[in-house]
């Protein structure tokens, strides 16, 4: 038995499916690919799959990963190739590897937020004003209900680029771990709350990072 880490991208149509749907879909794909996957033992055997950090619906992922177990030796390139033969549009495996770290070593994630608006300068100004505020509080929805949440401390390293007359690109790094995560969409909430604007945004999680901001492996 061997643990294998599957690295994949999730975008296009696939970014509109939930984490639960993604897991089901990966199950179908592993079955179609006829990979010798290990099943959980129990009354209803399931393919053993664990995912690093769930991705919010609507967010693209550049370097997502999940772990499976193989009961026979299969080369990593073969795993990648066989899965890609069956994956739906928007899901693509780009690598399989040994799991070097454990999922609880993930502490941060890098994001890109691309905003579209009538005039990119205007929205850049709004953003600059927002980020210069002493405090930025938004409602954070959790299992126990919504509560006020201060996100300003997490937004100190945001970079902003005007990429076109109607587009602005932001990069940010936010906590992302099994203990808790900050959703990049909270920044959009703040933009709505303080500036009254709701630009169309496409959000991408570029990669998962350790506590030292090194690449999760």
């Amino acid at each position: 038995m061997k643990n294998v880490r599957i690295w994949f991208k999730k975008d296009g149509p696939a970014k509109y499916i939930s984490h639960l749907d993604l897991a089901r879909c990966m199950g179908y794909v592993l079955k179609m690919a006829r990979l010798p996957v290990w099943y959980t033992e129990g009354f209803n055997p399931r393919i053993h799959m664990t995912f690093a950090m769930p991705l919010s619906l609507g967010v693209s992922g550049e370097q997502e990963c999940m772990d499976i177990r193989l009961t026979e030796e299969v080369s990593y390139s073969n795993v990648t190739e066989r899965m890609n033969r069956h994956l739906p549009m928007g899901l693509q495996v780009y690598r399989a590897s040994d799991p070097v770290m454990t999922f609880n070593e993930i502490q941060f994630a890098d994001y890109t937020v691309e905003l579209e608006a009538e005039d990119s300068r205007e929205i850049a100004d709004d953003l600059a004003e927002l980020l210069a505020q002493e405090q930025i509080t938004v409602m954070k929805h959790a299992k126990k209900g919504a509560k006020e949440f201060e996100i300003k401390p997490f937004l100190n390293a945001v970079t902003m680029d005007i990429t076109g007359s109607q587009t602005v690109k932001l990069t940010l790094c936010l906590p992302c771990s099994t203990e808790g995560s900050i959703n990049p969409n909270l920044l959009l909430e703040a933009l709505k709350k303080y500036k009254g604007i709701t630009p169309y945004a496409s959000v991408t999680r570029n990669g998962l990072l350790t506590k030292d901001h090194t690449e999760f492996l």
């Binding site: 149509p13 509109y16 939930s18 879909c25 592993l30 079955k31 619906l57």
Partner: protein, 614 residues
């Protein structure tokens, strides 16, 4: 795929995965390389439509042909629909993302009457003229299939042609004809007249309907060479019928996310209330070898871990245990479970249950349909009370403790005593549980009695029957709700209002077209969904157009009345239905097709059980 404009709406709606396409096994072709494009429209949500076997079969059959491309279209849910209208975005197909108005064929499957408003609404969202007469040129051919096509008259003005019976061959034949007509630059009218010559194709505009003073039909006269009677299409040998070797696997969860393997078509039973039992005759089975091979191919190509052996009555498959044994030679190893969608009371046995490993121990459902034996004899539901009690007793011994029983109220000749008998039967099931020493201990029994209002349908022995008025149905519901004899019984009943509307359209005629049109104009749609259904709004539509819905739903018909569907031929002789109706009122049952041929007429198709040795 979806356009950039659609993408901007996706995060504002529930379940955006409904609108994106891109699923595994969905078929993408180059539109420059195909001659005819077919938009398969399912007039309900993605989750319902993607669970429908007919869609999977026809999607596969059409796409087999290299120069045809069939794509899927579903009704956007009200949140998405509102945004699309606001943004001026037309209805689009999931594979290409192209507007439905770019397609040659717009095909609807007509599964239930309450989806008719969705059909018209989808045409509207697509920006296609609603009426057949308003569409010109050899393009935008609006076609329909499915069980409701046995009386499509309320929709006749909106459709160019209907497919009667099994669709997998005739759909392709009509598309071939269209392709030829296009190449020869024939007109729309020429195409329709040629299509009417194909068996199983009904072109409503080629029939002139006239009415008597009392509102009933005087005559339905064909013109321009259209046949007097349109005969439904039948696939004679199921083993040779097209069956897809793969299904589109949805990215989001849908109602039935599994391999559906059709094991037989038709039904031997002849329950007198059941339209499907007559429409799909003759009874035809697939062989074990074919079913086994198709199941293997589908599991391999979809990754599904569940197979449902589907049909109108799978426990009537003649070699069910052998079939299950055959499937078990590989399903266990492949971690695939096999299930049956429904069970007859007399089809349940411990041996069978042992072979169905996926049945959850929690709930079992049976449909005795009526509470008293007299009533069951009237509807020809050949199930004895003793049999039911025996079956539930076996189930209790095997560890089940939740039983759901389906009934109908408002059946012909029904009395308050017959309704009361539903409760009595429920109580007896509860008693069987407590008298069973081997029942599962620690848990009580839960028996749910579910009563639907009966809707008389065309091509059944009850097609002459005036549906109970809503007042009568409410009275009967009160009997059910009034004196529940055990705390272990739960009684549910649903919608007299939706059943009334269903009855109106099931036996409606062409004069209902303006009703549907006005209803859709006023925003009525998704009538099958409680949160959308608005009965008062419907009644005001009827009132404003001075159409009496009771004429269609509640009126008793005489045997000599000409029905709106009399020119459509499903192989079932009217004399047979009259005889069955008479027997029903006398409380006489009719043996099933396997025991004895009742002479319904379906033998004219020369297939299945009708021509086999009994």
């Amino acid at each position: 795929m979806y356009s950039k404009e659609v993408e901007k709406l996706l995060l504002k709606v529930q379940k955006p995965g409904r609108y994106v396409g891109g699923e595994m096994n969905s078929i993408i072709k180059k539109k420059e390389e195909v001659d005819v494009r077919f938009a398969f429209c399912f007039p309900d949500t993605y989750e319902i439509g993607m669970s429908h076997l007919g869609l999977k079969i026809l999607y596969g059959a059409i796409n087999e042909v290299p120069y045809f491309w069939c794509e899927r279209v579903f009704a956007p849910w009200i949140d998405m629909e509102a945004l699309m209208i606001e943004q001026g975005l037309p209805l689009y197909a999931l594979e290409s993302g192209d507007p439905v108005r770019d397609f040659d064929f717009i095909g609807f499957t007509l599964q239930y009457e309450l989806s008719y408003t969705n059909v018209l609404n989808m045409l509207k969202l697509a920006g296609i003229p609603l009426k057949s007469s308003e569409r010109t040129g050899l393009f935008h051919i609006v076609v329909g299939g499915g069980p409701c096509v046995c009386n499509p008259e309320p929709l006749a003005d909106f459709f160019d042609l209907f497919f009667l019976g099994d669709g997998e061959e005739v759909d392709v034949a009509v598309m071939e004809l269209y392709r030829r007509c296009k190449a020869e630059q024939k007109s729309r009218q020429e195409f329709l007249e040629l299509a009417a010559q194909i068996e199983g194709v009904y072109v409503p505009s080629l029939y002139e309907v006239s009415y008597q003073d009392d509102g009933t039909i005087k005559a339905c006269v064909p013109k321009n060479g259209a046949p007097e009677r349109v005969k439904k299409c039948v696939i004679r040998e199921m083993d040779k019928a097209y069956y897809p070797s793969t299904f589109v696997v949805p990215l989001i969860d849908v109602v039935h996310n599994r391999v559906s393997e059709e094991v037989l078509r038709g039904c031997i039973r002849g329950c007198r209330f059941c339209q499907a039992g007559f429409l799909y005759r003759p009874f035809r089975e697939k062989s074990i070898d074919v079913i086994d091979a198709q199941c293997q191919a589908l599991c391999a190509s979809t990754g599904y871990d569940e197979i449902s052996l589907s049909s109108l009555s799978t426990s009537d498959y003649s070699q069910l245990n052998e079939l299950l044994d055959r499937l078990h030679t590989w399903t266990e190893k492949e971690k695939v479970s096999v299930s049956l969608p429904s069970l007859r009371v007399d089809g349940f046995s411990p041996e069978l249950m042992e072979r169905i490993n996926s049945v959850r121990k929690s709930g079992l459902t049976f449909a005795p349909e009526a509470g008293s034996q007299r009533m069951r004899d009237v509807i020809n539901k050949n199930v004895e009370e003793e049999q039911l009690l025996h079956t539930v007793n076996v189930a209790f011994t095997e560890g089940w403790n939740r039983i759901k029983l389906y009934f109908m109220i408002g059946l012909p000749t029904e009395t308050p005593e017959d309704v009361q008998a539903i409760l009595t039967l429920g109580k007896k099931v509860v008693d069987v549980f407590y008298n069973n020493p081997n029942r599962s201990k620690g848990k009580g029994v839960e028996v749910t009695l579910s009563a639907a209002a009966f809707v008389p349908k065309p091509f059944t022995p009850f097609q002459w029957f005036g549906q109970d008025t809503m007042e009568t149905l409410h009275d009967k519901q009160r009997v059910l709700k009034g004196n529940i004899p055990s705390k272990r019984l739960t009684v549910n009943y649903h919608g007299a209002q939706t059943s009334f509307l269903e009855a109106v359209f099931a036996r409606g005629d062409r004069r209902l077209a303006p009703v549907l049109e006005l209803a859709v104009e006023r925003g009525i749609h998704f009538d099958g969904w409680d949160i959308c259904f608005n009965f008062e709004q419907w009644m005001s539509v009827f009132q404003d157009l001075e159409v009496d819905p009771a004429f269609y739903a509640n009126r008793h018909r005489e045997f000599d009345e000409i029905f709106p569907w009399d020119h459509l031929d499903y192989g079932i002789r009217k004399e047979f239905l009259i005889e069955e109706c008479r027997r029903a009122y006398r409380g006489e049952t009719t043996p099933n097709c396997r025991e004895k041929c009742a002479g319904c007429g379906a033998a004219c198709y020369g297939g299945g059980l009708c021509v086999e040795k009994r």
